[in-house]
Structure formats: C-alpha cells, structure tokens
C-alpha cells in the first residue's frame, strides 16, 4: 500500500509522518510518534481511552484515520501540562482521587478538558452525559464527577 505524508500539529509542534492510508491515528501517535499516553481499549469507539482533541473536538483516535488529521491541531495528554505546571483538570483528578489504574485517565482528561470549554458551568447530570463516551472500570465515576466539578470551579475562578 502506497504510503502518504501527513502533516499536523501535535501538542503545538508540527509533525510529518509517512503512513499507509489505512493507518489509524492512535497507532501513529503510539507507534510512530512515541506518544503512548492515549491507549487502546476497544478499537471500536466505545471506551474512549484513546480520546484526543482535534481542532477543538474530542475524537476517539482508534477510529480516526491518520490521513484525516492533515493540517489539524491535535492535542494529546502529553500536551496538557505547560511550563506553568499541570492543567487544572489534571490537578483536579489527583485532588479528587479521580483515577486508579490510570488506563482511562488520559482520555478522561482530554474529554474533561474539552467538555469544560463546551460547558464551563455544568450540572452533575450534564457532566455525566458529557463524559459518557469515556468508560472507567475502576472508579465508579463518582470521583471523576467530583474532579470535573472541582476543575470547573477552578477554571471559573481563573
């Protein structure tokens, strides 16, 4: 299969990869670009552990072709923290014990990051619906909800 060049911005840096047209973004990120924060859980868009942010939308990168990312702004968990420190959602997950095994966490964080821009002052129900594309087997979600609430408050104060 003829490979194609694809260029996009990943966490603020431009990258250029040579991939088969069928290659999925999650594999490009993990295998090619050594960004192993996003994980693979189902390869069918159900679990959300592969969630990254593409052009302002949460995207499950296990069902997104790398060639579709041409020219996009892609944010993965590795790009959440800045030189100023952790992102507010990252700190909130620690403070509220919103993670256990950590496997869903990068996807959860990316979704929370985007969700709180879509809805900066959500109710608990809105959080539960807004985050419902991301599964967690460890936490029973309660502390993740708290983490998103805490992050929402901190972001509003900022």
């Amino acid at each position: 299969m003829a490979k194609q060049h694809v260029s996009f911005n990943l966490n603020g840096k431009s990258v250029d990869v040579l991939v088969e047209p069928r290659e999925l973004l999650i594999h490009t990120l993990r295998e090619n670009l050594n960004m192993t924060g996003a994980h693979i859980g189902c390869e069918s868009s159900h679990c959300g552990v592969c969630t990254v942010d593409i052009d302002g939308q949460s995207v499950k990168s296990c069902t997104f072709l790398t060639v579709q990312a041409q020219g996009s702004e892609v944010l993965s968990v590795e790009g959440l923290a800045t030189t100023d420190g952790l992102h507010v959602v990252q700190q909130a997950f620690v403070d509220e014990h919103g993670l256990q095994c950590g496997f869903c966490t990068p996807g959860m964080l990316l979704r929370a990051y985007r969700f709180l821009q879509e809805n900066p002052n959500p109710t608990e129900d809105e959080i539960r619906w807004g985050m419902s594309g991301n599964l967690c087997r460890c936490t029973g979600y309660q502390n993740i909800v708290k983490a998103v609430q805490t992050a929402a408050q901190k972001l509003q104060q900022a």
């Binding site: 088969e20 069928r22 290659e23 594999h27 993990r30 295998e31 050594n34 960004m35 192993t36 924060g37 996003a38 994980h39 693979i40 859980g41 189902c42 390869e43 069918s44 159900h46 679990c47 552990v49 993965s76 968990v77 590795e78 959440l80 923290a81 952790l86 990252q90 997950f93 620690v94 403070d95 014990h97 993670l99 256990q100 095994c101 950590g102 496997f103 869903c104 966490t105 990068p106 964080l109 959080i127 539960r128 619906w129 985050m131 419902s132 594309g133 991301n134 599964l135 967690c136 087997r137 460890c138 936490t139 029973g140 979600y141 309660q142 502390n143 993740i144 909800v145």
Partner: protein, 797 residues
C-alpha cells in the same frame, strides 16, 4: 511549640496509616507517562496475532499457511504441529487440567487459538491471519452443562477418554471434571427431614467477564546470547508466571525475568497464563527477536478468563421463627472446555464454603460438580476471592427467600441469625474461623441511616398505587487474604507474600513487595504502613513491585490479598528493622534497650527528656556506628504466611424503582457500610468501594455472555457487553465500622472486593423485592429492562 503540637506536626509529616494521602502514582498517569505493556517498544520487535476458530466444536482437517507466509512482512505461522516437538502444544492449568495452547486436532470453543502469525507490525499480522486457511469439520456442540452430563452427550475432551480420575475426584462422565463436597451430608439431610420450615431456590449465576479496559498482552524478548528471557506482561502474579514459564520452557528461573509494568485494571482477568503469552515466548525464542502479543477487545471477552457460570440451589432448614438449622448448597459449575479455574489447588470450587455467611448455622453441606462445555476456559475470581461472590449470592438470596416464606422482614431474619460479637472467633460448620465482626451494630447503623422503616412505609404506599419499588438488603461476610499455606497453594507454592525494606544511610527507604498494583495504589499505601511503623515520611519511601529480578517472591494481587498478606509482610519486615534500630539507639544513647520507648519517629529514653534518637539518626549510625558484633545496614525481608484468612464484612442497602412501562430501573439509593478492619487510606478505600460497587452493578444489571445453540458468543464487544457509563452508574453512599482483625499485624482485612461481592446480591434483592408482594422469590441476573418488562407483563402488574 507545645509538646502536643510538636507531636502532631511530626505525625502529620509522616503521612502514615489512616490519612488520605494523595496518590504518588497519579503524577505519571495524568501526564501520559504510565508504562503499560503495550507501551513497551523494543528494537526489532515483531507482532503476534491469532487465527481463531469460528466454530465452538470442530475437528481441524487441515491448516494451510502458505498464503500467509507469502505475505511480505510475515515471519512465521505457528500451529500445534509446530509446538509439538517442544511439547508446548498443551500446557498445564492452575486447576490440574491441561489446556491446548494452539488447537490440537480439535477446537473446543469459539475463538479458540488455532494458529499464531508473527509479522513486522500489527497491520500485516492482521492481514495474515485472514490468509491462513483452516478447514474444519463441525461437531455437535454442548453449551448447556446439564445436557453435557446426559448419558448420550457427545464427548468433548477426547484427550481425557479413559482417564476417569481427575485432579480432584473420580469423574462420573466423560464431560465431568470433578465432584467436590464439604460439610456433613447425612447430618444436614436429617435436619432438613425434621425441619419446621424449609426453602429451596434455584438460581443461575451467569457467565460474565472482568473486562478491564486494558486487555491482556505481553512482550517476550529472548536474548539468544545469554539465554535470558525477559517477559513484560499484564500479570497480577508475575512471580508465579516466572515459575510457570520456567517449568514450561526448561529455562532456569534465574534466566527468566518477568515484569508486570503498569496494569490497566485486572479484576481477575490477569491471573492466568494464556496461549498468547506462551506463543509469544516460543516465537521470541525461535526467532530471536522480541515479540509482542496484545489481544483486542473481542478476544479479551471471548477467550481470556470468564467468571461465575454457576447453576446453584440454595436450601435452608429453619424453625418457624426463622432461626436457621441447616444449609444445603448444590452447584453445577460450567468450567468450559478446559478446567483453567484460578483457585488454590486444594479448592476446585474456591472458597465457596464461606457460604454460611454472617450467620450462626449449625450444620451444612456443599456439593459441586464441575462440567466441561464448549465455552472458553477460565473461572477466575472477578473482583472477588475465589468464588466468594457465588457463596455470598447463594446465602443472601436464600435468606431472602426464607424471610419471604415466613413473612419476616429481611432485616429481622438476619438479626435473628447473625453470629453474635461474643461468638468470635467463630468456627463455621464448614471449617472456617471467622476472626471478628460486629454484624448487629453494622445492620442497625445502616437501617438508621436510610430510615428503613420509612422506606418500607413508602414502599407500601407505592404498592397501593400499583408502582414498583424494591429494597435490597445484604449482610455479607467475605473470606480474603489467601492464604495460610497449610491449605492454600498455587501449583504447590504456598500462598504467602513478601516484603523487603531497605533503609538508606540518609534515612530514605526502598521497599519491594511480591504483590503488584493494578490501580489499588500500593505505591501510596504500602509507604503509609512503613511510615507509621518506622517513622520515616511516606514521601521518602519508594515502593517497587512487579519485577521478578528485584522483588521478593510473592503470589501477587487478587482475592483482596495485598493488604491482608503483603501488608502484613510489610509491617513485620518493618518491625524487624525497628527491633534492630532499637538496639542501635540503645548503643548510641548508652542505655539498655528496655529503657527506650518509641514515639512517632524516634526512640526516647524513658523519663529523660531530650535523650532520643530519630530513625534517621539511627539509619545513619547503622552504616557507621553499630554495637559490637552487629552487622551494619538496616534492612529486612519478611515472607508472611498468614495464620488465617481475614473476614471483611458489610451491610448494603439498595432502593430501586422500576418503570412498569419500560422495565427500566432507577437505583435511587445505594448505601454501603464496609468494615475492613484498620483503614490505611480512607480516600483510597472509598475509591475502591465506588469501583467495586459499579462492577457489581454491571454484573447484576447488564453483563452477560450469552451463547446460541451453535456455541456462538452473542456479546463480545463493548456494544453488547455492558460496561456502565457515567450515565447509568448510580451514586454511592459509603459508611464504615472498624473491627480490627485480631491476627493481622495491622488489624487490616482488605477491602477492594467487598463492594463487588456484596452489591450483586443486593441489586437482585432489591429487584425481587419490588415484585415480592406478587409472590416472586427470585429472578436471575442480569436484571435488564427487557427482562423486567416481561416480568411485569407476565404478572399483569
């Protein structure tokens, strides 16, 4: 600063036991710097993928690899024929049976491993498995274990024909695996014959899968020069894996290094040894390069480690006041095609005989028959301790049935039968010694917290209006922390666990354990134990697990055994160090050891203020100024063989509303009181309980692995297999009591599995309760909306 304030400051600085210390693991996980098995990348690494059977039972006529081998980037295609010369086409299971690594002449379940393809990358491997041509001849399929035991049933395991003695008993049928009994049959039967009241309830505890978000996988890397095998693996028991790999491969254990890196959830799924691991190892040895195998979600749910699949009958004999006189439990256990249950060797039905529960039952008998069917092997403890979930389910359900028959409230019937506080330690009639508990107080605390009487009044009002509301109540006792080596072993290795603690000259600590965290936060909590024991701040204590080259041998993390066994080893190792530290302190202070007393982080001379040595000062002295004849250094190892199991218990109450028009359920309240003894980190305990409750909710309300008559698994994707999202998941209320275990060095009992074990029968109890006024005594899980809607129609509510 006052002395009291000073002590408090020093105590707080330790971040020891009892505080909600934030987790040290989190820093890497929130920044995408975890290191899970699939993150491991090695130079020249190849990828393995499996050719799997579309049939549940078939003879393999031929396998043609040519087209696959011709695909550029394919390095090898291995079948049973290739593994035969190595004697690795079959492997022993933990349950004393054998299991095909790659199907040998026959396939016994759908998705069974038939061939493995090794290729440059996962895309080529996936292409190549489609090019392997396998011709099958279909055979009659057995999915129902009752039919499997019929006289004329087709024989599934031709390799066992004529071998009528199994690992645990005589086999009474070619599809029979074992019969296992415990208790006094005749005495129990006699009580039943003369009892004022008896109840009997059939129930099917359906087949489910733990389904952690990270599937199983490994990277095997064989170094041909040194003959050294390194195996990165998603394993809850890396040391046991090393022993098994050594036994299978013939490599000395010293040349096998097993590393469990970060694990994306285990829940029992990652205890066993799977064909994917074995074939990756073989491929790496043969090809001399690292080989990665990672299963996809369908492979995970279909083939590695189902749980439950118990057809149970619970029977209670009682007097007319509901006081239990005897218990009978009968089980037909569907073990699938190979008996690969993960249980201590002597217990083919695990610890099912904890099924007398929290109750004072004079006599009991348990009978279990294990049966082969055309389903995947497994039988793991899905977030529980070896069939404890089944045990708790059968006793709690049958208690409800008894209460219903006698017209006694389900709280009251439990009150009447609880083991009383003055009876501990309590010897159960099936051979366990329940070390401690406080059942009556726990029950009253929960009933008060939820206003139980008020809920019952509300239910009456709703029933009068034709609405369906149910109240579930469960008062469970677990048995965890396997276990005493006199009755617990895995492949002959006693189920102790271990800790090694080293204090460096500057007073920081490196500690290693034989357990392995999968989200439980061991790096946080073990450090808290050591901090309290040795007076060194937890922040200066590093915990390492999972690398068999460095950690002491241990049996791993499952069955809530880390705190009961590994935690005990940690405390005892710390105390060995403390004893030596006391001698050094006495030497430094020029007093007798007996003149010293411990205070938070230092030894003080009794009655001599200011005469003291902190643990850090002692650590420095351990490397330059020890008493005459003492060896330098400050470290200890402990292999802890527990004298008994621990018995955490809980009282759970669930309030459910059922929509008559749709069958949909609303878990309006779920109140969970747990008593896990001494609490090491309340924040983590709460998190574990939330997670366990949610997994219990999943099992009770939606998870199932249905098979059609041809043995096709009807639900093996996350589209079909229920993993609750944020939206379905109820809100959890938690509460606790503390009844320390009298035999555990810290008084801790383990907690992470209680919420799974206890919540499942509680959901059923609530669902059935919603229909109990209509004569319903039991409904099988999962309690899905379509099933409940049908029930509503059937009853004409």
């Amino acid at each position: 600063m006052t002395e009291v304030a000073d002590k408090q400051t020093r105590e707080d600085a330790l971040q020891g036991m009892g505080c909600s210390r934030k987790r040290v693991e989190d820093a890497r996980f929130i920044q995408g710097k975890g290191n899970y098995t699939d993150d491991v990348k090695m130079p020249g690494m190849l990828f393995a993928d499996m050719v799997r059977s579309p049939y549940a039972h078939a003879r393999i006529i031929s396998i043609n690899k040519e087209k696959a081998l011709a695909l550029p980037g394919v390095h090898a295609v291995l079948t049973a024929e290739d593994l035969k010369p190595l004697n690795l086409h079959w492997m022993p299971t933990l349950a004393g049976d054998v299991q095909a690594v790659l199907a040998d002449e026959k396939v016994h379940f759908q998705y069974q491993e038939v061939a493995v393809v090794i290729a440059d990358d996962r895309y080529i491997a996936a292409d190549a498995i489609d090019l392997v041509e396998v011709e099958y001849e279909e055979l009659p399929v057995l999915i129902d274990p009752f039919k499997a035991m019929e006289p004329e049933a087709p024989i599934l395991r031709e390799d066992l024909v004529g071998k009528m003695t199994g690992a645990h008993s005589e086999r009474k049928h070619d599809n029979h695996i074992f019969n296992w009994q415990v208790g006094e049959k005749d005495a129990t039967d006699r009580v039943f014959e003369q009892a004022e009241v008896t109840v009997s309830q059939d129930m099917y505890y359906h087949r489910v899968h733990p389904c952690p978000l990270e599937t199983c996988g490994c990277v095997a890397s064989f170094d041909k020069v040194n003959g050294h095998l390194t195996l990165y693996i998603t394993s809850q028991a890396p040391h046991v894996v090393r022993t098994v790999v050594s036994m299978l491969s013939g490599l000395p254990e010293s040349k096998v290094r097993v590393i469990s890196p970060d694990i994306g959830g285990g829940f029992g799924n990652k205890v066993g040894i799977y064909p994917g691991y074995v074939t990756a190892i073989v491929a790496s040895i043969v090809l001399g390069v690292p080989v990665k195998w990672v299963e996809d979600r369908m492979e995970n749910i279909s083939t590695t480690a189902f749980a439950r699949d118990y057809h149970m009958t619970g029977e209670i004999a009682a007097d007319k006041d509901g006081r239990i006189k005897a218990l009978r439990v009968n089980v037909l256990a569907d073990h699938g095609a190979f008996d690969a249950c993960a249980d201590p060797s002597k217990f083919p039905a695990g610890l099912l005989h904890i099924c007398t529960g929290s109750y004072d039952i004079p006599v009991a008998h348990v009978n279990v028959d294990g049966v082969y069917t055309n389903k995947a092997p497994g039988g793991v403890a899905y977030r529980c301790s070896f069939r404890v979930t089944e045990a708790v389910y059968v006793i709690e359900r049958t208690m409800d049935v008894l209460a219903q028959k006698l017209g006694i409230d389900k709280a009251e019937i439990r009150r009447r039968n609880f083991i009383r506080n003055d009876q501990f330690p309590y010897q159960t009639c099936l051979g366990w010694e329940i070390d401690s508990g406080d059942y009556h107080n726990a029950l009253e605390k929960v009933l008060t917290a939820v206003d139980y009487d008020g809920l019952r009044r509300e239910q009456e009002e709703k029933r009068a209006r034709g609405e369906l509301m149910g109240i579930g109540l469960v008062t469970f006792t677990e048995i965890v922390g396997a276990g005493p080596s006199r009755n617990c072993d895995i492949l002959g290795v006693g189920m102790f666990d271990s800790a090694e603690i080293r204090i460096h000259p500057t007073g920081s600590i490196m500690a290693r354990m034989g357990t392995i965290t999968q989200g439980q936060g061991h790096q946080t909590t073990y450090a808290q134990i050591i901090a309290t024991e040795l007076g060194i701040p937890a922040s200066e204590i590093a915990i390492q697990e999972g690398d068999t080259d460095t950690a002491p041998y241990g049996l791993g993390t499952y069955g809530s055994r880390s705190t009961p066994v590994g935690g005990a080893a940690t405390a005892v190792a710390a105390r060995k160090i403390k004893a030596k530290a006391q001698k050094i302190a006495a030497h430094l202070l020029e007093v007798s050891e007996d003149d010293l007393e411990w205070e938070i982080d230092r030894f003080k001379v009794k009655g001599a203020p200011g005469q003291e040595k902190t643990m850090k000062e002692i650590a420095w002295a351990a490397y330059n100024n020890v008493p005459e004849g003492m060896e330098p250094g400050l470290e200890a190892v402990d292999y802890y063989d527990p004298p008994n199991f621990t018995y955490p218990y809980g009282v759970y109450l669930c309030v459910i509303d059922i929509d008559k028009d749709t069958g949909e359920t609303d878990i309006r309240r779920f109140y969970a009181l747990d008593d896990c003894g001494t609490r090491i980190n309340p924040m983590i305990i709460d998190g574990q309980i939330h997670g366990g409750l949610n997994e219990g909710f999943a099992v009770a309300m939606g998870q199932e692995m249905p098979f059609d008559e041809q043995g096709n698994l009807m639900g093996n994707t996350l589209m079909d297999y229920f993993v609750p999202t944020f939206v379905e998941t109820p809100k959890w209320e938690t509460d606790y009591l503390v009844t320390p275990s009298p035999h555990h060095p810290l008084g801790a009992k383990g907690v992470a599995e209680s919420p799974h074990v206890g919540s499942i029968p509680c959901f059923t109890s609530a669902v059935v309760d919603a229909f109990s006024h209509l004569g319903v005594t039991h409904m099988n899980m999962p309690h899905t909306a379509p099933k409940l809607w049908k029930k509503v129609q059937e009853l004409g509510v």
